[in-house]
């Protein structure tokens, strides 16, 4: 998928553990792991809003579009 999730990088910069992040955002650890490993198929706006609030960042800091040859 051409959308890359940079959550692990942002979490490392903030020195925040995944379980702390999941707790503060209000999602399960399993869902946080799905998001971190890039397995997620979709992210709700409400979840994205909370992630940005907790990590004090912009959506573009977490989600990056990388063009691939696949159509």
């Amino acid at each position: 998928m051409p959308i890359i999730v940079n959550l692990d990088v942002v979490l490392a910069q903030r020195k925040m553990s995944l379980s702390d992040f999941a707790e503060k955002v209000g999602i399960t650890l399993a869902n946080a792991s799905i998001l971190k490993t890039g397995k997620a198929k979709a992210v709700r706006f409400s979840t994205l809003e909370k992630i940005c609030e907790v990590l004090e960042c912009q959506p573009g800091d977490i989600l990056v579009f990388e063009k691939t040859d696949e159509v």
């Binding site: 999602i27 869902n31 946080a32 799905i34 998001l35 397995k39 997620a40 198929k41 979709a42 992210v43 709700r44 979840t47």
Partner: protein, 180 residues
């Protein structure tokens, strides 16, 4: 999150009964075939039809019947056709039971349901092919009627459509599970 829908329970047990009933009748058919091979004179006044789901006794006054003089392989063909039909119905009922069970358990869009619907569809197609040649034996008369059973074809199509629907449901279910 299972469901205690009584209609599903009734459907489950009906399919269970039909399935095992089919296996039982298939076994009975086979036993009759074996018995016939050893004692054909017992079957002098019987009419055999593989697709009538029964072995019918014909009134002694009717024009028939001397089944024992018919070739053994032709009679076995009828028995085997009947046995195959009952077996396939039994196997289809097993898959039907599994589907109903998954719905009862609340796992409607599980990964296996499309596969089972496809197998049921294939079963209907095989039934259509098997009953295409409707073999009837009555004494020395060997009747072979060719007729395409539209009901089986329609049921197969319906099963394949359901398989596609359940496959799409399974995809959407997976997607919703991976939505954060």
């Amino acid at each position: 999150m299972g469901t205690k829908n009584s209609k599903l329970t009734v459907a489950y047990w009906l399919v269970w009964l039909t399935g095992y009933g089919s296996f039982f009748l298939g076994g009975l058919f086979l036993l009759i075939a074996i018995h016939f091979s050893f004692a054909p004179h017992h079957y002098d006044s019987l009419e055999l039809s593989s697709t009538m789901f029964s072995v019918q006794v014909v009134d002694g006054n009717l024009q028939t019947t001397n089944l024992s003089q018919a070739s053994l392989w032709r009679i076995w063909l009828v028995f085997l056709q009947g046995l195959a039909i009952f077996s396939i119905i039994g196997v289809m009922c097993i898959y039907g039971r599994r589907i109903i069970q998954s719905v009862r358990k609340g796992k409607v869009f599980n990964v296996n349901n499309p596969k089972w619907f496809q197998r049921i569809g294939l079963g209907f197609l095989i039934l259509a092919a098997l009953t295409f040649a409707d073999v009837t034996l009555s004494g020395e008369v060997y009747k072979l009627e060719m007729n395409l059973k539209g009901g089986y074809i329609l049921a197969a199509l319906f099963a394949y459509i359901l398989a596609e629907i359940f496959q799409e449901g399974n995809r959407l279910d997976e997607e919703s599970k991976l939505t954060v």
